[in-house]
Assembly symmetry: C2
Homo-oligomer: 377 residues x 2
């Protein structure tokens, strides 16, 4: 996944220290693949995955809309050329003053998942459109999905009814099947829940129009994942199955699926050692770790492909760890990572599929190390 | 643990958004308590715990030395008034160019835990002093201690012998009993290992002089912890037991124990909700979470005391979560946190014992949220 442009950039510029390089051509390809796979859905890029201005500008110019988690992300999307009607404030947890600020900036589509949040939006953004997030079980997702966002469908009905009663426009339902979701069937039961909410509210005279199907689209790490086209087919079938001929307006919010495979981190081997003469596994220490941008290795959830210049050589299992003095800064230990036996101090390696959820996750100065630098080319 | 000075600062200045406030008087008390408990040990403050310039300046003026994890931290300590002989480069994972830079700055005490690292130090800092870190089991520590740092004592002998052979000064042994270590006996077996390394090398004509006993000194979160005086007694007894009358020079490296209880985070309740009508626990969402400075809630390891203005009211269990769109940004769920039933949106709360491992752990811009601001008073 290190494209020729990325390889050439690193060879020519030789940036020192760990850094991420993102190839905009891959982002554009991903955007076009989503548009082709789901031609009737609006694409709201999940800005939190990677808010680099170059990425936002490219996507704005391609006609993308934007799913924002905070006022700062809304401002970034506007700065990149998005118009307010193309922005969704997708965080269900918002301060009332942030709702007011977003509304001032022209944003009029808000996520909610409880009556308390509806009341805030009604006060701070009168007349705005809201969609209610429902809980899904997240089965099949590689990045853990907790119960943090959403409510049960029965409660969503009350939440949306309350929104209408307070003068808001109850627009629809959202869900999220879990990040790095590799099971194309995962959308089916969530779409069924959405249809249940639509039907029940219709009986009360409230016509919903929007299903926000969230993100979850995976990027290819070590295992093959289904293509955007396969997801498109499965999602369309689910919509047909549960909505029949009255297929609603739909939104998708790819983040990882849009930028994950567009980025590669260049890192350096700082130390290779053993803990005892009889130690079976070597320890390989890099100049980047859990606090420098690879936070998604938490619980060894995301397993990135690693490319070295010695990949033809014999391999043996390694514990892979970061450079900080924190004992929790270990990337892969429960499942050691096979790396070339010849790997040595000073070697540069590439960590692929790191375009999403790396730069902004990076700690501001842990152990005095600077945050991950990024080049978008 | 919110001192009157901190309470007054918050009442007067009313900073908006989440922030940490550190009371330097508490840091000074902690320093004096360590000095009194272990009068024969040198105190090397673990800069990574909180590198705020005001803290480093205070400790430098009090006569503290500094344990640094990177060149950046060494420069911060020097800027704060420490002299190079009072600085230890305590990270066992260093780039050779960083060793060279530290040596240029006058630092001549380095941590190692393998022959490969000794070779780097010998090339980049000829003649410097090195101590070898040995593995401990970390039992009794609340923050997980992995096998990341250190080697078995038998290997430490070879590492230090190699250092001498390469023209370095093999100075001693270090260990770390695990952060937030609440068992005062934990130092005993590590001191025994150190004595074994001393004795074996003495037989080979190499006289070690230094035992670096690391950190691990706890701060008071929800449970009482032993006092510095109790640790001092246990450590002195361990040294007597294993070194007899030849008690070596000793170093301690408190980080959390020096600044943990000196800091309080002010945060705001953004949302209180339930996921269904029958949900037993409320969800309480704050404007700070795992990516905004509370990384040590990972796996619910550190459980901070929380003070609200409604603490006299009845309590019920809550799931506590942060403000980001990341489903992993949940602080306490496996063991819900009892909070006042009357707690409501907009309430300010204090999270105590947050002076260590918060500001620098904070993500640089995750979800567009700015890193944790800090005020040192």
């Amino acid at each position: 996944m290190a494209t020729q442009r990325i390889i050439d950039f690193l060879a020519t510029r030789r940036p020192s220290g760990p850094c991420l390089v993102v190839d905009l051509d891959v982002v554009e390809e991903n955007f076009n693949a989503f548009r082709k796979a789901l031609p009737d859905s609006s694409i709201y890029y999940a800005v939190k995955a990677n808010p680099a201005p170059e990425i936002l500008r490219l996507l704005a110019s391609l006609g993308s809309s934007f799913d924002c988690a905070s006022v700062a992300e809304i401002e970034m999307a506007l700065d990149a050329g998005a118009t307010a009607p193309r922005i969704s404030y997708g965080n269900t947890i918002k301060k009332e003053r942030d709702v007011a600020r977003a509304f001032e900036l022209g944003v009029s589509l808000f996520a909610v998942d409880c009556v308390e949040e509806v009341e805030k939006v009604a006060r701070a953004a009168p007349g705005a459109r809201v969609f209610c997030r429902v809980l899904t079980n997240g089965e099949g997702a590689e990045w853990p999905l907790s119960r943090k966002f959403g409510c049960v469908p029965a409660m969503a009905i009350d939440v949306l009814a309350r929104a209408e009663a307070l003068g808001l426009k109850a627009t629809g339902v959202s869900f999220h099947v879990g990040s790095q979701q590799t099971n194309v069937e995962a959308w089916d039961s969530a779409v069924a829940d959405a249809a249940f909410v639509f039907d029940t509210l219709a009986e009360r005279g409230i016509q919903l129009t929007l299903v926000n199907m969230g993100g979850g689209f995976p990027t290819r790490y070590l295992k093959d994942v289904p293509s955007a086209a396969e997801y498109g087919r499965a999602i369309f079938e689910a919509l047909r199955r549960h909505f029949g001929n009255r297929i609603p307006e739909t939104i998708i919010e790819p983040g990882r699926g849009m930028v994950g495979d567009a980025g590669v981190i260049k890192a350096e081997v700082v130390l290779v050692s053993k803990k005892s003469v009889s130690d079976e596994n070597r320890w390989v220490f890099l100049d980047i770790g859990k606090f420098g941008g690879l936070a998604e290795t938490m619980d060894e959830a995301i397993r990135y492909p690693i490319v070295t210049e010695r990949d033809g050589d014999a391999r043996s299992p390694c514990v892979l760890a970061g450079p900080t003095c924190d004992s929790a800064d270990v990337l892969y230990e429960k499942t050691p990572y096979p790396l070339p036996v010849s790997l040595t101090v000073g070697d540069e390696i590439l960590i692929e599929g790191t375009g999403a959820y790396t730069t902004t996750y990076s700690a501001v100065a842990f152990n005095g190390f600077e945050p991950l630098r990024a080049y978008v080319i």
